[in-house]
């Protein structure tokens, strides 16, 4: 009894090793204390579990909201019309709900971005991994990280006020808002993603492959492109896929520099509207909540979500295979 009174529960959270010693000294632990500790343990475990579950909850909430809000839309507009129509004009009479102009706008800017980021990113990765001296690598990698850390609204400003005027000097037909400069700048934006993930993949290729190739008399260049790059191909594909996924979901560069008119065109010199731009445009405007016009942003959002989710799952599958191959 006296024992129980004199032994206070261990002073909370003084931290460090010292206190753990106290715990050891305090045996036998009184029953009341032990119960308190057990309850605390259970509560902590439950709270931590809930934290971990919030991610699952978020995913469910995203899917639920996109689907439930789109349902109203698809009651009025058939899925076929939505996916195959070539005119997107929800706010004008006569209304038209063909999403293809937005999809093509997204596709166009993404392709242009990839045309910049894939070759440049891969060559930079190869150069850094196989050729550059450690000192050069130490300088370049942080620079790429800086490029990756610049907010996209800044890239948008750059595209609109620098790249477009610059290109207009060489291409007379270029509109003030156009897919070309937005795509080019987006390519610069995803360049660090592509370069650094590709470099990781190249770096993971075992040296024995390089030595074997060099021992057979291949040059460094032949070894790089004939052996190392093919061996790292699944990792390189992951970097491209993630780059594409980021380009598809990118909002600010295209909203600022590519324009906000849903033209159904593959001409990179013209203004286009992407899916992301459309969502921002309507959400910022004064379209009343609950109308058919308003529900379009959730239908477009659902399509966008499905596309990026597909890309991420494919790249995840590639990554899994690439990990297996390493073993």
């Amino acid at each position: 009894m006296a024992n129980r009174v004199s032994l206070q529960p261990s002073p909370p959270h003084k931290g460090g090793v010292v206190e753990m010693k106290q715990v050891a000294v305090q045996t036998p632990i009184p029953a009341q204390n032990r119960r308190r500790v057990r309850i605390e343990e259970r509560i902590a475990r439950l709270l931590l579990f809930l934290c971990a579950m919030l991610g699952i909850g978020t995913t469910f909430a995203i899917v639920f909201i996109l689907v439930s809000e789109s349902l109203g839309f698809f009651k009025n507009v058939s899925l076929v019309e939505f996916l195959t129509g070539t005119r997107w004009a929800p706010l004008f009479r006569p209304q038209a709900f063909g999403v293809l102009p937005l999809v093509v706008g997204t596709l166009l800017t993404t392709i242009i971005a990839l045309l910049v980021a894939a070759p440049v990113g891969l060559i930079v990765a190869v150069y850094l991994c196989e050729y550059a001296s450690p000192r050069v690598r130490r300088t370049i990698k942080p620079t790429l990280e800086v490029l990756a850390g610049i907010p996209t609204v800044v890239y948008g400003y750059f595209a609109l006020t620098f790249v477009t005027p610059l290109l207009q000097r060489f291409i007379p037909g270029l509109e003030g808002f156009n897919a070309l400069s937005a795509g080019l700048v987006m390519g610069i934006m995803i360049l660090p993603t592509v370069a650094s993930l590709s470099e990781d993949a190249l770096y993971a290729v075992p040296n024995s492959l390089r030595y074997a190739s060099l021992a057979l008399g291949a040059t460094r260049l032949q070894t790089t492109w004939g052996v190392v790059v093919p061996a790292a191909m699944s990792g390189i594909s992951v970097s491209f896929l993630l780059g594409i996924s980021r380009a598809v979901g990118e909002t600010m560069i295209v909203a600022i520099a590519a324009g906000q008119q849903p033209n159904f065109t593959f001409n990179p010199l013209r203004a286009v509207e992407t899916m992301t731009t459309y969502i921002v445009q309507i959400a910022m405007g004064d379209v009343p909540h609950g109308t058919l016009e308003y529900s379009t942003i959730f239908a477009v959002g659902l399509l966008l979500f499905v596309i990026t989710l597909g890309l991420n799952l494919i790249s995840e599958a590639f990554r899994a295979r690439y990990k297996e191959a390493k073993l």
């Binding site: 931290g15 460090g16 090793v17 753990m20 715990v23 050891a24 500790v37 057990r38 343990e41 902590a44 475990r45 931590l48 579990f49 934290c51 971990a52 919030l54 991610g55 978020t58 995203i62 909201i65 996109l66 060559i123 930079v124 150069y127 050729y131 550059a132 370049i140 620079t143 800086v146 490029l147 850390g149 610049i150 907010p151 609204v153 800044v154 400003y157 750059f158 006020t161 040059t219 460094r220 260049l221 032949q222 996924s245 598809v248 979901g249 990118e250 909002t251 909203a255 600022i256 992301t276 969502i279 921002v280 959400a283 910022m284 942003i297 959002g301 979500f305 989710l309 890309l311 995840e316």
Partner: protein, 292 residues
């Protein structure tokens, strides 16, 4: 024999030329990336430096570009960051602790992990739609600082969780085993032995994730940050604006004066990010010294 050696010589010369050529191309591509960064920074500095000054930081947005300032946006960004961190850090770190310290390997855990990876890949504008529907409408927070912070917290969670897991993983096993052997429960072990050691690296991850939050625009446009605000937020339910939203608003106006303002605001934003990243690097280095 002679012919073969001539061929070999020629072959070697050709391969050597190719080798040199690729080195030049590779260096050119690297220079291209560096040049782009330089051009971008120089362009923004040239456009914006003339507008920078104390009054630019202390004035509210205005219809006339020369009178406009970023007071509301700067303070809004700061509040948003603090509030987002207050929501996202406990939850994100908690999830990391659960996954690293408590969870047993199972298909369920694998699902949670894949889910976190995928959440990190969801376009930020989709988080905007989520926030609009859940926080702004269903929970009736309206277009408030709190709604914005909740949305940004969901966006930052995967980043914080991933960073915190890495920090926890770096804590040596012996520390946990020592604590458990002394009779501490698992939670006591985490709370008193593991977390204090992992804290600096978790903090680094938190700061980096917050630098993403500060630069994010699209979800806040969707949940309704206004660019035109002439008061500072007085509570978490006040309407608000942030730097990137203000920048976007100025960019989308045709007058060149507003473009100058946008460039000046970008300089402020980039400076803020630079400071945060420097802080993160400083913490990381301090941690390395300590463990060694």
């Amino acid at each position: 024999m002679i012919n073969a050696s001539v061929d070999a010589k020629r072959w070697r010369a050709r391969e050597h030329r190719r080798e040199v050529m690729f080195q030049i191309i590779g260096a050119a591509m690297v220079l291209f990336a560096m040049a782009m960064l330089t051009v971008l920074l120089v362009k923004i500095l040239l456009d914006g430096y003339a507008r920078l000054g104390i009054s630019f930081l202390t004035e509210y947005a205005s219809r006339r570009p020369e009178n406009a300032g970023i007071k509301a946006a700067l303070v809004g960004s700061f509040y948003l960051m603090l509030l987002t961190a207050a929501i996202a850090v406990p939850v994100g770190v908690g999830a990391a602790i659960y996954l690293e310290e408590f969870a047993r390997r199972s298909w369920w855990m694998r699902l949670i992990e894949i889910n976190i990876t995928n959440l990190a890949g969801v376009p930020s504008v989709i988080y905007g739609l989520l926030g609009l529907q859940v926080f702004v409408r269903t929970l009736m927070m309206e277009r408030s600082l709190l709604a914005g912070a909740c949305t940004m917290a969901l966006l930052a969670l995967p980043v914080i969780t991933t960073a915190a897991r890495e920090g926890l993983r770096a804590v040596p096993r012996s520390l946990r085993e020592g604590s458990l052997a002394l009779g501490a429960t698992q939670w006591q072990t985490v709370r008193h032995a593991v977390l204090p050691v992992a804290m600096p690296s978790i903090l680094t991850g938190v700061i980096l994730s917050m630098s993403r939050v500060v630069g994010e625009t699209a979800p806040l446009l969707v949940v309704g940050a206004f660019a035109y605000i002439a008061t500072l937020p007085t509570s978490v339910f006040s309407p608000f604006t942030v730097l990137p939203v203000q920048i976007y608003d100025w960019i989308s106006r045709p007058q060149p004066g507003f473009h100058q303002n946008a460039a000046a605001a970008i300089i402020v934003l980039l400076t803020l990010l630079l400071v945060m990243n420097a802080l993160a690097i400083y913490l990381r280095n301090r941690l390395q010294v300590r463990l060694a």
